[in-house]
Amino acid sequence: MKKIFLVEDDHGLRDLISFLLTDKNYDVEAFSNATTFEKGIENGDPDLILMDIMLPDGNGVELCKNLKESKDKKVIPVLLMSAHADPNIADNSGACDFIKKPFDIEELYERIEKHTG
């Protein structure tokens, strides 16, 4: 079973994505902010991180950059998502992919499968 860390501050969306991915047999651990995620990732070893960019206490792009600079976590693929209007917002973050909100669920499944497969 593939393990996915989900970082999303919006409660409704966090529930939906958790539900959608669990339904597809992923092991989902959800975080609502940067702080709890950073704690969780210390001892965690997910197959993919699905992370929102605009977080209340941090920025997904920066979090991703930090991960890519770390020794043991840099290999974990990061899939960033945002409802932000700037299509280039995830450029230079080191993320493996970017998905724009609102997305089609098929598109979400496809991308996750691609980067965990």
Binding site: D10, L13, L16, A83, H84, A85, P87, P102, F103, I105
Partner: protein
């Protein structure tokens, strides 16, 4: 000798002296007497004899001619009838000389003619003796010297003119040796006449202009004049001065050129006034351009800087500053300033300009200050930091401060000017700066409004970006659950309802995008990601999707066979096409066909979307690309009026063209072109 003839320098007879001596034979005496009488009679000079009492005893024709009296009229009369009252004393002198046996030679005086005309004369008076040597009278020879006197007067007048002239009047010979030198020449060049006579004119010519003298001399040799030649000469002290010189050949009485006269005028003042005029012209130019600049520019900093630069230049100040009262977002008052001619660091040392004594009146709108010497004026020295500090950091002696007051009466700020020298700022500078300050006040009022609008607009854009983000998050959740259900549910009616709900969720998403894009276009912040792609392929894909989705219309395509490459933002072009296709569908409710065509003319790709719908009137065609415009006939059809506006902005940003051909009731044809990427 019976008579002594006195001759003048030109050889003419001036006087005859008769000696009646007893040694002469009486016959000879008689003959001589006759000869002499004839000479006397026909002389042009007046030859008169009188007795010791001054009574006229003889009067020749010359006397009649000069004095206009006939012999008959004057014989027996006293000689004083010829003498002006003011000169009667001369007669005493003459008669005393005669009585002592002496002659009076070439005595120049004035006598009256019968008609009262004053006649300048040269008199020679000799005693007449009888046979025994006793003086019995006097002979008087008077020569009219009017012509000579006139000549002398003319000469004196000319000399006086030459001497008193402000211009240098110099003559030189053909070798360039100075032969005369007037006072004007002395004043201009500093040499005395004595110093320069006999010297070469080249002492006045700077080394680099020596060639000029050769040219001048060659013209003079040719008998030509040189008029108002402007050049530089040097004074005795070595100072170079600008002069205007006219040179004419000097000829002798036979017409031979013997030298040149030179009239030189110092045109230093003239050049100064010319420069002054040029200065005024330049000032007018600055005034004109600053007026234009500040009335067309709205950016606050630009207006402040333009006004500062222009007023500093116009006032002749060493430095100028514009202190501008402004309000920060927090409502706190603060001060901006622009500088001209002084480094910012010097000003920063002064601290808050508001508190500086000399600045204060300008900011509080008390009025204009113009001080010739700040260091001598203690009235602005109340509050520290005071003028000494200004003096130290900015070296200010002349000082001028002018408040800038808005049309509503509020104080916008103040212009201050400084110069290290005394008394630089005059009334004219004050008036000029005051006028610009008045213009600037209007421009600044406008610019303040503009700044406010700009800041409001920026806030609006920020808000729209935030709102769009906030709206899209729940929309993502809604879409997610709906899509999940749509996939799971088999029951056809429920499935259809879910599909319709999803369509509406997508529409909502597009509307949010349109709003966001509009605000970004307004702010000039819409970004484009250009890439090379085949627009035919894009059109084919869209065509397939359109026809695959069950709808009311069928899309008929006409693309040609070859790929057509453009360099564009593919997503935006897709957005453009979606807009045009959706419009075609929306505005042709009673038709069932839409035509999509692609043409390639080797320069540009033109895409046409044609419907058979409501069409547009010519007025509507004019307005259709405006923001929020919705045609009257579209009532009942939904929309914000942003689609075609955004479409036009996107195509314009691609250096393309978007246009419409339409006839009301017969349908519309929207087409856009993009440059090919060859």
């Amino acid at each position: 000798m019976a008579a002594t003839i006195h001759k003048g320098t030109d050889g003419s007879v001036l006087a005859y002296q008769f000696n009646f001596s007893p040694q002469y034979h009486s016959e000879k005496r008689f003959l001589k007497k006759n000869t002499l009488s004839a000479i006397v009679e026909f002389s042009n000079d007046a030859i008169i004899s009188k007795d010791l009492n001054g009574i006229i005893t003889s009067w020749n024709r010359g006397a009649q001619k000069i004095f206009e009296y006939t012999e008959k009229e004057v014989i027996g009369k006293h000689i004083s009838i010829l003498i002006p009252e003011s000169r009667l004393h001369e007669e005493d002198l003459i008669s005393n000389t005669i009585k002592s046996g002496k002659s009076l030679n070439h005595f120049e005086t004035v006598r009256f003619s019968k008609s009262g005309k004053k006649i300048p004369l040269s008199l020679t008076v000799s005693p007449i003796k009888n046979d025994f040597g006793k003086i019995i009278g006097a002979s008087k020879v008077a020569r009219d010297i009017s012509d000579r006197v006139k000549g002398e007067e003319k000469h004196a007048r000319l000399s006086a003119i030459v001497e008193s002239s402000d211009d240098a009047i110099i003559s030189k010979d053909l070798n360039g040796v100075i032969t005369s030198w007037n006072k004007g020449a002395r004043r201009i060049f500093g040499y005395s006449e004595k110093e320069v006579l006999g010297k070469s004119i080249t002492i006045l010519i700077p080394e680099d202009r020596m060639d000029e003298e050769k040219q001048i001399l060659s013209k003079i040799h040719a008998g030509l004049r040189i008029d108002h030649f402007e050049t530089i000469r040097q004074t005795k002290a070595g100072k170079k001065i600008p002069i205007s010189v006219s040179v004419s050949p000097l000829k002798d009485r036979h017409g031979k050129i013997i030298g040149a006269s030179k009239i030189a005028r110092n045109i230093e003042e003239q050049i100064k006034s010319k420069k002054k005029i040029e200065g005024y012209v330049e000032k007018l130019r600055i005034l004109n351009s600053v007026g234009k600049d500040i009335s067309t520019k709205l950016d606050l900093k630009t207006v402040l800087q333009k006004v500062t630069d222009a007023t500093t230049a116009l006032s002749g100040a060493e430095f100028g500053a514009f202190f501008y009262n402004s309000e920060a977002d927090s409502g706190e008052s603060m001060m901006l300033y622009t500088l001209s001619g002084a480094p910012k660091e010097d000003f920063e040392k002064l601290g808050m300009p508001r508190q500086i004594g000399v600045f204060q009146p300008a900011f509080s709108g008390q009025g204009i200050i113009r001080v010739d010497d700040l260091t001598a004026d203690k009235q602005y020295d109340h509050n520290p930091p005071h003028y000494r500090m200004l003096k130290r950091y900015l070296n200010v002696t002349s000082y001028m401060a002018i408040p800038v007051i808005s049309t509503s009466g509020s104080i916008i700020g103040g212009l201050i000017f400084g110069h290290p020298e005394k008394a630089v700022f005059k009334k004219e500078h004050e008036i000029m700066v005051r006028n610009i300050a008045a213009q600037a006040a209007i421009a600044l009022d406008n610019s303040q409004l503009f700044e406010k609008v700009k800041s409001l607009s920026e806030k609006k854009d920020e808000f729209i970006a935030l709102a769009s983000h906030e709206l899209k998050t729940p929309l993502t959740t809604i879409k997610g659950y709906l899509q999940f259900l749509e996939n799971k549910i088999e029951e056809p009616r429920t499935k259809l309802f879910l599909t319709k709900t999803l369509d509406q969720a997508n529409r909502l998403n597009n509307l949010i995008d349109d709003l966001l894009n509009m605000s970004r276009i307004e702010a000039g912040k819409l970004q484009f990601n250009y890439e090379r792609f085949d627009i035919k392929e894009l059109l084919q894909e869209m065509c397939e999707t359109f026809n695959y989705t069950e709808g009311s219309h069928q899309l008929i395509s006409e693309f040609g066979d070859d790929p057509v490459y453009v360099k564009a933002d593919k997503q935006r072009i897709e957005q453009v096409l979606n807009n045009l296709l959706n419009n075609a569908e929306k505005y042709s409710p009673n038709a069932d066909k839409i035509y999509l065509k692609l043409k390639n003319d080797n320069k540009k790709a033109t895409v046409t979307v044609e419907d058979e719908g409501l069409g547009l009137t010519p007025e509507q065609q004019q307005m259709v690309f405006s923001r929020f415009y919705r045609a009257e006939s579209t009532k009942g059809i939904n929309g914000l009026g942003l689609g075609l506006y955004l479409t036009k902005q996107i195509i314009d940003s691609h250096s393309g063209e978007l246009a419409v051909k339409s006839e009301e009731g017969k349908g519309s044809e929207f087409y856009f072109s993009l440059p090919l990427d060859l």
